[in-house]
């Protein structure tokens, strides 16, 4: 009854909005604390993120990663699972992409490599999610802890592989050789220029389109298939899922495989799209940021796209900001990201009760 009287827009619009505003207000205080004018800083940030073609390109390039990891976190969340392992899954997904590109770029055309790389990203990412998923489903091991552990294991594994097996012999750093160009995901500015559309040079590439396709697929999967129905049942009421004869172990494992696969697509954007070689640490915290993105996007693909663009803007704008004001480091963006997680995640109930109370009272008053 109580929910019925609170308009929908309050829960999906007003409350998240207030939370984000609060996060930004506190971020503003951080700027004040380090002696910067927050308004001016915000100006650079917005200009850097949206002020010119190239900036927009960078924003969307970062957003691509956030869409993948945000979707990954949120689909698991829909099934009641907290996947903190996006970082590791993205890392291993990238490994899969790299292996495909390295082994086929001399012999195969792009049209063959691309689908194989996408499949490899999904399979490798999924494989990395499989063990925690299996242990959760069959042995009840807490998936939060196991996925954290698997992040560390992924990072050691990658170092081992890069240093001992995949490193380019002649180079210094543990990077693989650069792929041949037929294993590069085309840049969007290159794809669009034949059509006479000119967007600035940026790392934005075909992976962005893949990300949008993933959004649609995830949306349809969750809300319009029987499998999605089972997943949502499991996520909201595991006992009811058992009652309904849903094989919860199977759903748990599958949803984590999908989650891991989505995270693995970060590898398409980073390895195939931008770096064009396999290297260490390319995930750069995108997996963890996915948690913030999915919280902010209320676990809905549309929300996730919006949140991902916001985070992309923060990253790109933050780089611009650090470029213009050298006494600011781009890490300030990490602070903002953390504050967003705090206010729209951990403190989501802070105002909820009061705001809902307000609308309930108002509705009650109107009834009389």
């Amino acid at each position: 009854m109580s929910q019925a009287k609170v308009p929908v827009w309050v829960n999906v619009g007003l409350i998240p909005f207030i939370n984000i505003v609060l996060a930004f207000l506190v971020s503003g205080l951080v700027f004040v604390a380090i002696g910067q004018n927050p308004i001016e800083a915000a100006g650079y940030l917005v200009y850097g993120a949206f002020g010119y073609d190239e900036g927009v390109g960078y924003t969307l390039y970062y957003a691509t990663n956030f869409i993948f990891t945000g979707l990954a976190v949120s689909i698991a969340f829909k099934a009641g699972l907290f996947n903190i392992g996006g970082e590791g899954q993205a890392y291993i997904g990238g490994l899969g992409v790299g292996l495909v590109c390295l082994s086929l770029d001399h012999s195969m055309p792009f049209i063959v490599i691309m689908p194989l790389a996408i499949i490899a990203a999904a399979l490798f990412g999924a494989a990395w999610a499989y063990v925690p998923a299996y242990l959760q489903a069959k042995r009840g091991s807490h998936i939060v802890i196991t996925t954290i552990m698997f992040n560390f294991i992924a990072s050691s594994l990658m170092v081992y592989l890069m240093v001992n097996w995949l490193k380019e012999k002649s180079g210094m750093a543990p990077n693989s050789r650069t792929f041949e160009e037929n294993a590069w995901m085309p840049y969007l500015h290159n794809m669009l220029s034949p059509l006479g559309i000119d967007i600035g040079d940026s790392p934005l590439n075909g992976a962005f389109i893949l990300a949008l396709i993933c959004c649609v697929l995830v949306w349809a999967l969750i809300w319009h298939t029987r499998w999605g129905y089972q997943l949502r049942t499991l996520g909201t009421n595991p006992t009811a899922a058992k009652y309904a004869g849903i094989d919860t172990a199977k759903v748990t494992i599958w949803v984590m495989l999908i989650s891991g696969g989505l995270a693995g697509f970060v590898g398409i954007n980073e390895i195939m799209g931008v770096n064009h070689s396999l290297l260490l640490n390319f995930t750069a915290g995108y997996g963890f940021a996915g948690i913030a993105v999915s919280l902010m996007g209320r676990n809905h693909p549309i929300g996730i796209v919006l949140a991902a663009v916001l985070f992309g803007a923060l990253y790109q704008g933050g780089a611009e900001l650090a470029f213009e004001i050298p006494t600011i480091t781009p890490e300030v963006v990490v602070v903002i990201q953390g504050l967003v997680i705090l206010f729209s995640g951990a403190l989501e109930h802070m105002f909820k009760g009061r705001i809902e109370g307000f609308f309930i009272r108002r509705a009650a008053a109107q009834e009389k």
């Binding site: 951080v30 242990l135 954290i148 560390f152 050691s156 890490e331 602070v335 504050l339 995640g345």
Partner: protein
Amino acid sequence: MFDTLIIMLDATLRVSTPLILAALAGLYAERSGIVDIGLEGKILGSAFAAAAGAAVFGSAWIGLACGVLASIVLALIHGFACITHRGDHIVSGVAINTIVAGLTVTLGLDWFGMGGQTPTLSGDQRFTEITLPFADALRDVPVIGQIYSNLLSGHNIIVYLAFLMVPATYWIIYKTRFGLRLRAVGENPHAVDTAGISVAWIRYRALIVCGILCGIAGAYLSTAHNAGFLKDMSAGKGYMALAALIFGKWRPVPVLFACLLFGFLDAVAVRLQGVVIPGMGEVPVQLIEVLPYVLTVLLLAGFIGKAVAPKAVGRPYVKERA
């Protein structure tokens, strides 16, 4: 051989000290029902505050105080989110870790202008090694003397403190009123509430203790083990401590041994680099680095015993019909 062993164990003590402190910190939090993956952030925040405080005021002790204070503040934020506003413990922990990772560098750059580091500490700005009485005299006595002088003596005060915290924690948890209530609140907060005790207040106190211990751990990193703060210097120790806490099944003494094991593996990893073991070839250090995590996963999977967490851990306490 014996000498090498002593050296490794000596390093083990140093490396496991922050783990022990952080794992005990986690023990207080989780025994009270609060999941704390924010250990990492608290260690990092304290390491920064301690180094900054020591650099500015010229005293390691003031640094320690700053570190502990910073860590308590972070613990209270966690409490505010999880206890007062019934937020998700994991989300709050992730948030704190993220905020601290960014804030330390941002403030560091603003205050010291050295790329987010603090100035290098020296002299009184650091905790230095203490030589135990007669350590020099006994150095040449075989075995016992060696152990005493080379292994037990010559650590800084925080190392000794960390090891003292283990029996102290045991005593607090099992022999005091606070401990009884702490254990109860992690198992069944309703029972505590109806016994006329404030659930929130016990949990806040547990988090404050957690903050203090993490604060000491962080100060150890930047003002004792090292000489200054570096970006991301906690390097996963908080997560490692969490793993040790699970490995030790939320009990002080087993947790100590888990930390020592992890510390030992770390010490071995440092020294095994490039060492060729006959018949096996060169051991990849990554394999040893990864062992604590693999062991924890195996434990959680029930392959090496069962880890049963406090029953109410991670669940926000709401007064409602059970």
